[in-house]
């Protein structure tokens, strides 16, 4: 049984999955098509309803 999991997509969901797995002690390979993580969320100006910025 391998020790690692693969996460495809590095948006908020992918990063969250990867962190949860990694924090539980597993090896994670996080594959993102674009040049960096963050996905759509990184392009959003403010998020409802807290109006926080996404940076």
């Amino acid at each position: 049984m391998p020790k690692g999991a693969l996460v495809i997509g590095g948006g908020v969901a992918g990063v969250q999955s990867a962190l949860d797995l990694a924090n539980a002690g597993f090896k994670v390979f996080l594959v993102e098509r674009g040049p960096c993580l963050g996905g759509r969320t990184s392009q959003i100006h403010k998020i409802f309803t807290s109006m926080d910025c996404t940076g």
């Binding site: 391998p2 999991a5 969901a13 990867a18 994670v28 409802f48 109006m51």
Partner: protein, 1403 residues
């Protein structure tokens, strides 16, 4: 810890999964890492490369609304924070060039005025820029993409321009230390071979038979086209590389090939040209006055007073023919003309040469072929010609000329110049060596390597191809140089030789939609009359302005121009232009798919005029526009002047819920997003008139209804109705046509419109699904194993799907699902703890006086460009306690960190200050470096001299340096006072208690059991299963609630879960890792310890009391009672049912939020009733269906004839013994509607459970204004609470539907598993500490502590002091500020430490 630094996470950015084999847990995955052209191990993200990049391409991060450089990172905070280069392929110009000269590159550099660099770039591929800029046949221009817009760029003339700009010849400093090579023939092929070999370090000698190098460039191209000085410039440059040219040395006469080998030449290139001229072979060619073209041109070159005839015919259509005829004119011919057998179209001469010749008065007789030359007294007097016509294309692709019989005619003339071709003749060499020749008498060579049949002897140029172009000869020389290098090094000659760059795909070439046509810049020419009489150069060359104007027309087809400027700018040498894709094989146990969504391009909804009219945006574009780092700097890019307050419209559901676009579903986030955008706009334009055209406002999440109300309060107007079209008037106003609520067609005028376009499956989803072997649903999203019940599983074992990959959803839901998917993925992985071996490190003794080391970072040029870094170092050395200081180019780099570690040992440092960037970026990595050499990581400080000095004071370097010194001074003062701190570890109990045995608690418990944890569920009721147990069925699978619950309970208990029903929770004490839980069970109290607690206490249904006629008539029931009736089949004698929605929701009777489940539940129930012939009306306040399959269910209900009627307030109910009719006002018909009813169903909302107040107190978990439990963060921490170790999921947080509750349940399991996977919990040592003698026990600290980490304890009778529970303290410092006596201090930020900083600054 963040994702970029997590030791367990390996990030493959710019990568794709290209292969998947096997079954979970034995999956073999292949990942393709696409080349970034930047070595990410070396890239420091300093940001220098884009400052020199000349190419601007569309910025997809800004949704193509602005441009960026070809070398880029998406945004400054990107993770990984690395640059990459955007290459689309070889640009058409470069691809068309035989020598692959980088035209796009030098054109980009011209635009920047970097002429020297442009020439340098050109010369990497071509040693003859001055020549080719004048006389090349420029195939680059033929394929230039600009021709699709207007005309191709004047590429050759730009090349000439850069070579003309060279005032002093660039002098390379060659290191020729390799073997000797010999080249025969100093034409373009031979000289190119020599040049490219010299560039590789070989010592080339060129043997030339004539007395001048250059071949036909020198001997046959007239000076008015290629002045001698222009050629000489290139020759001088070639020589400057150390190429030795021996003229007057004839092969076969003065030396032999054998001689060369014996003289230690390691390889030979034969660039012998095609010197033999051909004639037509017609009668009269031997007459005096009939000459061959090259011979004629050659004479004219030697002597510009060479005699010429009065009437001169030149036979042929190539550049030489044109050269000859123009030369004849200049030598004094009264009339010179061309005879050519095909038409203008087939003529091989350059078009501009033909035009120039025509301007000079030269006539061209097309479709004319000589048949005979007449003479008198042995001298030519005339020529008989025949008219031709064009037939079928021949092998050259040109149409074959066919003589027209009987069309012969005669021309009087006294000179004929035959320009009908040349041929190679190398047969003389075969006497010496056994060369294989072709039937045309040229060398037979390997087409890839140019090697002849004799190893080590290579040939190229016209001697191989027959007469061809200069650029082909240069290409041959270049190719031969590669072969000869390989030959000498003993490397395979052929390997990877077929490589040619891949041409950029036409569809990838970005031609802006709004491109302005701009004609090609015309070349200034010498005055015509002057030109005709002299050999002065005709083309005068571009001026600076003309060159830049022409260069600006380039479309940058290839993306990166490979101008190589970034290489020079990159200090860490990270740029690798020839990087190739990499393929990596991975063994994994499971896969989580989180591929997200794309947006529908609203061009598809053409009625709204997107991209046709100005000021129409998509909602996603609004995000970028309103961002300060966006394409318009944080404001709308309105291109009109506002005379009155902004009029702005949002159109909802563009594409969504729309069969026309095949988008059957609700995109779920657009309503909230529009509400948010309306509030953002109101901040920018407080007077704006904002109108939202909507179908239903779906504000169903926690706090959403309140958010919606906020926009209403701000004056945003909501109009129910879908606009039919938008058009633009001549003032640039946008007019929206729509149908108002009364059904009248209306119109309204706006300045700008935002289209809330649908969310669609991410591009490539289908391909990825095929690769993974999982199914896609009818909407194109990843399909769930079972909707609602198994929302995180795909149709294949071990492949989990979550977030928007399965359908649109907001961040909160995506984050919860992502965590949930993680716990499921973990079940396929071995073990649950990676053993990281800890080495015992000898600790540095820090008890002595401070010995501070200061390390000042240049951050590449980021700091040093402004701040005098060396000055800061010298200053630091003078500070008290500093024993060592030095500077680093990049202090964060691995090399520098090692260096710092070395310095710690060498100088016995016990404190470290780094003056660099923000501590947010690298503080942890420096601390790790300290830890690794045994120095306590808290004896460290960062002075942020980049953000706070060099960035904000760019224009004031002196002051910036002074400030940097002050910051270093303060840091040193602080670090001297710092004390070592040590992390504390607490043991962890690995058991979990879940409060509540509804579907959420059970699911969470089950997931934890599967991960190997012991779970107790505490349920206060006798039966478990919560509300779901009582549901007749759940949509969209229509399984009964009881079945689902029973199955789950069985699974839970048989896997070892403990289910304690009728259990009363009495008390909870302790903290994360060790909570003591006291429960009363069967009259007895029991205690147990757990490491984590999950609140899954659900919610209760609103009790309508006597409202809505409830209790007044027996046939008014709640929806839950209807479920029971459906289950028991007790719906008899009912013909007509009315549902009242939002009873106890959305502000009704004080309950602020939407209850989220009731619209979908009512529709499910309505369908059940309707299918049994019962009339159903659903009285609603907007239909909020958003879950997977729900929109389709809503459509089905309408098709079945379920009536949906809007209503507000309590409807009038009439009847005597029972409710018989319901009356509501109808705005549509401006009258009341009365519906006869046999049954009224109240869709009651969800309210917080009665004991939630007690539980909140018990667990110290706060509740929000709506009295539901409050999560840690509404988006990024939806299942955590502010109390570490206590989690929440399902309806105790806010009403959810079943699918969302289940996802949250799994998410909590994931969080708990991560927490309890470790033997110990480490506590950060930065906590508050109480100085007891100052504390007077007032308790203010305890009041302000949101983590409830402080309590007052009775030290002795009546004397209270504050005590900090370090397990709960987060080190926020709020208590320090609140303490009136200064009795609390925060470790690492102690008063004396801060005072020392202030003291240092103010003295």
């Amino acid at each position: 810890m963040d994702v970029g630094r997590h030791p367990n996470i390996e990030i493959f950015a710019n990568s794709e999964v290209v292969g998947v084999e096997g079954e979970a847990p034995d999956l073999k995955v292949t990942v393709k890492r696409k080349s970034t052209f930047v070595d990410w191990d070396k890239c420091t993200g300093c940001g220098e490369c884009p400052t020199v990049c000349p190419v601007q391409v569309k910025d997809e991060f800004q949704l193509d609304l602005s441009k960026r450089e070809a070398v880029y990172r998406q945004y400054p905070q990107a993770v990984p924070n690395k640059f990459l280069i955007d290459k689309k392929g070889s640009p058409p110009c470069r691809y068309a060039c035989p020598a692959e000269v980088n035209a796009q590159g030098y054109i980009a550099l011209i635009l920047q005025g970097k002429y020297k660099e442009a020439l340098e770039l050109e010369r990497r591929d071509n040693p003859f820029p001055s020549v080719c800029g004048r006389v090349c046949t420029h195939p680059c221009e033929s394929d230039c993409k600009r021709k699709d817009v207007d005309e191709p760029l004047a590429i050759a003339q730009l090349k000439r321009f850069i070579s003309d700009q060279e005032q002093e010849l660039a002098l390379p400093s060659p290191e020729l230390n390799k073997e000797k090579v010999a080249i025969a023939g100093a034409g373009p092929a031979g000289l190119s071979a020599a040049y490219f070999l010299a560039r590789r370090g070989y010592c080339p000698t060129v043997f030339e038979a004539t007395d001048h190098p250059g071949g036909l460039l020198y001997w046959a191209i007239p000076r008015f086209r290629l002045p001698e000085t222009a050629l000489q410039r290139d020759l001088d440059y070639i020589k400057s590389w150390g190429v030795e040219i021996k003229t007057g040395t004839v092969l076969g006469k003065d030396f032999t090939i054998k001689d060369l080998f014996t003289q230690d030449y390691k390889a030979i290139f034969l660039g012998l040209g095609a010197a033999k001229e051909k004639s037509m072979g017609i009668e009269g060619e031997d007459l005096k006055g009939v000459v061959l073209c090259v011979e004629f041109l050659n004479k004219a070159v030697r002597d510009s007073s060479t005699p010429v005839g009065k009437r001169v015919a030149v036979v042929g259509g190539g550049n030489s023919a044109i050269d000859a005829v123009r030369t004849a004119l200049r030598l004094g011919a009264e009339e010179a003309f061309i005879v050519y057998r095909r038409s203008r179209q087939e003529m091989p001469a350059n078009a501009e040469e033909i035009v120039e010749a025509e301007k000079e008065g030269i006539e061209i007789h097309y479709l004319t072929n000589p048949t005979k030359i007449f003479g008198k007294d042995g001298k030519v007097t005339g020529m008989e010609c025949i008219k031709m016509k064009l037939g079928e294309p021949d092998s050259s692709g040109r149409r074959r000329p066919i003589p027209i019989e009987g069309s012969e005619f005669t021309i009087d003339l006294d000179m004929v110049i035959m320009a009908v071709g040349q041929a190679a003749d190398v047969s003389f060499l075969t006497k010496e060596e056994n060369f294989e020749l072709t039937r045309w008498g040229t060398f037979a060579v390997d087409p890839d390597t140019l090697q002849t049949n004799i190893p080590g002897i290579f040939a190229g140029g016209d001697a191989v191809t027959g007469p061809a172009t200069i650029i082909e000869a240069i290409a041959a020389g270049k190719e031969a140089a590669e072969s000869m290098d390989r030959f000498i090094r003993g490397v395979d000659l052929k390997e990877n030789r077929e490589k040619r760059d891949v041409r950029v795909k036409d569809e990838d070439i970005d031609i802006p939609e709004d491109i302005q046509t701009e004609k090609r810049t015309e070349m200034p020419l010498l005055d015509l009359e002057k030109a005709k009489k002299s050999f002065e150069e005709v083309a005068q060359g571009f001026s600076d302005d003309q060159a830049k104007k022409e260069a600006a027309r380039c479309l940058s087809c290839g993306g990166c121009a490979e101008c190589l400027e970034c290489i020079k700018a990159c200090e860490p040498n990270a740029i690798v232009h020839d990087m190739v894709d990499e393929f990596i094989d991975l063994d994994v146990g499971s896969i989580v798919v989180t591929t997200g969504i794309d947006y529908l391009n609203p061009k598809e909804a053409s009625e709204y005029g997107y991209k046709r009219f100005r000021n129409i945006y998509t909602s996603f574009e609004i995000e970028r526009f309103m961002s300060e780092d966006g394409p318009s700097g944080g404001d709308l890019p309105l291109n009109k002047e506002l005379k009155e307050p902004l009029r702005f419209a949002f159109i909802q559901c563009v594409g969504s819920r729309n069969m026309r676009h095949d988008i059957n579903y609700c995109s779920r986030i657009c309503c909230m997003n529009t509400i948010k955008d309306s509030l953002v706009l109101k901040e920018h334009y407080p007077d704006a008139n904002i109108v939202v055209f909507y179908i239903d406002i779906r504000a169903f999440g926690k706090g959403f209804e309140e958010f919606f109300n906020r926009s209403l309060e701000k004056g945003v107007k909501y109009i129910k109705g879908k606009p039919s079209k938008v058009f633009e008037d001549d003032q640039g106003n946008l007019i929206i046509h729509y149908e108002d609520e009364q059904g009248h067609s209306s119109q309204m005028t706006f300045d700008a419109v935002c289209l809330a376009s649908a969310l669609i499956p991410s591009k490539g989803s289908k391909e990825l699904a095929d690769l993974l072997g999982v199914e896609i649903d009818e909407d194109g999203f990843f399909k769930n194993a079972e909707p609602a019940i198994r929302p995180l599983e795909s149709t294949k074992k071990g492949v989990l799907v979550c977030g928007c990959a399965t359908g649109p959803k907001d961040i909160t839901d995506s984050i919860a699902e992502a965590s949930g998917a993680a716990v499921k993925a973990a079940c396929f992985l071995e073990g649950h703890e990676l053993k990281i071996e800890k080495k015992e490190i000898e600790q540095v003794d820090v008890s002595g006086p401070p010995r501070v080391g200061v390390f000042v970072c240049h951050c590449g040029p980021n700091i040093s460009r402004v701040v005098d870094v060396k000055g800061v170092v010298e200053y630091a050395k003078t500070l008290p306690g500093v024993v060592f200081a030095e500077d680093h180019i990049f202090a964060c780099s691995e090399t520098s960190q090692h260096q710092i570690q070395k310095r710690i040992a060498e100088h016995k440092l016990n404190r470290v200050v780094v003056a660099a960037c923000t501590p947010k970026t690298h503080e942890m990595s420096f601390q790790d470096s300290l830890t690794a050499v045994g120095l306590n990581p808290y004896l460290f400080d960062i002075a942020n001299i980049r953000n706070q000095c060099s960035w904000v004071h760019q224009k004031e370097p002196v002051k910036a340096t002074e400030k940097a010194k002050e910051l270093v001074n303060m840091s040193v003062a602080r670090v001297r006072e710092l004390r070592p701190l040590f992390v504390k570890e607490l043991p962890v109990n690995r058991d979990v208690a879940i409060i509540g045995a509804g579907i959420t608690g059970l699911r969470c418990g089950m997931d934890l059991l599967l991960r190997g944890f012991k779970v107790k569920i505490i349920e206060k009721k006798e039966a478990s299963g919560g509300l779901v147990r009582h549901l007749s069925s759940i949509y969209p699978s229509f399984r009964s609630g009881k079945d689902i619950i029973d199955k789950l309970i069985k699974e839970f208990t048989s896997t070892g879960g403990e289910l304690l029903t009728s259990a009363e929770l009495i008390d909870v004490t302790g903290y994360v890792g060790s909570f003591q839980v006291k429960v009363k069970l069967g009259g007895k109290e029991t205690d147990f310890t757990v490491g984590a607690i999950v609140l899954a206490t659900g919610s209760e249904l609103y009790n309508p009391g006597e409202r809505f006629g409830f209790g007044r008539f027996p046939n008014i029931i709640t929806n839950m009672e209807l479920e029971q009736k459906i289950l028991s089949g007790d719906i008899k004698n009912v013909k007509s049912v009315a549902f009242f929605q939002c009873v106890g929701s959305r502000g009704d009777n004080g309950n602020p939020g939407c209850s989220r489940y009731c619209c979908q539940a009512a529709i499910k129930e309505a369908i059940y009733l309707r299918e049994r012939g019962i009339d159903v009306a659903i009285l609603n306040r907007g239909v909020r269906v958003y879950s997977k399959g729900a929109e389709q269910m809503y459509r089905k209900a309408r098709e079945l004839g379920v009536l949906f009627l809007p209503y507000e307030g309590e409807p009038e109910i009439t009847g005597t013994d029972k409710a018989e009719a319901v009356t509501i006002p109808s705005p549509d018909i401006d009258a009341d509607i009365t519906i006869p009813v046999d049954l009224i169903v109240l869709s009651v909302g969800m309210v917080p459970a009665a004991d939630s107040a007690r539980l909140s107190e018990l667990f110290k978990v706060p509740r929000g204004p709506d009295k539901f439990f409050l999560e840690r963060h509404s988006k990024f921490g939806p299942v955590e609470t502010t109390v570490e170790g206590v989690f929440l999921c399902g309806c105790c947080q806010f009403p959810q539907d079943i699918g969302d509750s289940i996802s949250q349940a799994s998410a909590v399991a994931s969080k708990v598993a991560a927490l309890l996977s470790h033997d110990k919990i480490t506590l950060a040592p930065i906590t508050s500490t109480v100085i007891e003698e100052y504390c007077r026990g007032c308790g203010r600290c305890a009041e302000v502590c949101e983590f409830r980490a402080i309590e007052l304890i009775e030290k002795e009778k009546g004397v209270f002091v504050a005590q900090v529970n370090e397990a709960l303290c987060k080190g926020c410092g709020t208590c320090v500020a609140a303490c009136p006596t200064g009795a609390i201090d925060l470790k690492h930020f102690m008063s004396e430490q801060i005072e020392a900083q202030l003291e240092a600054l103010f003295g």
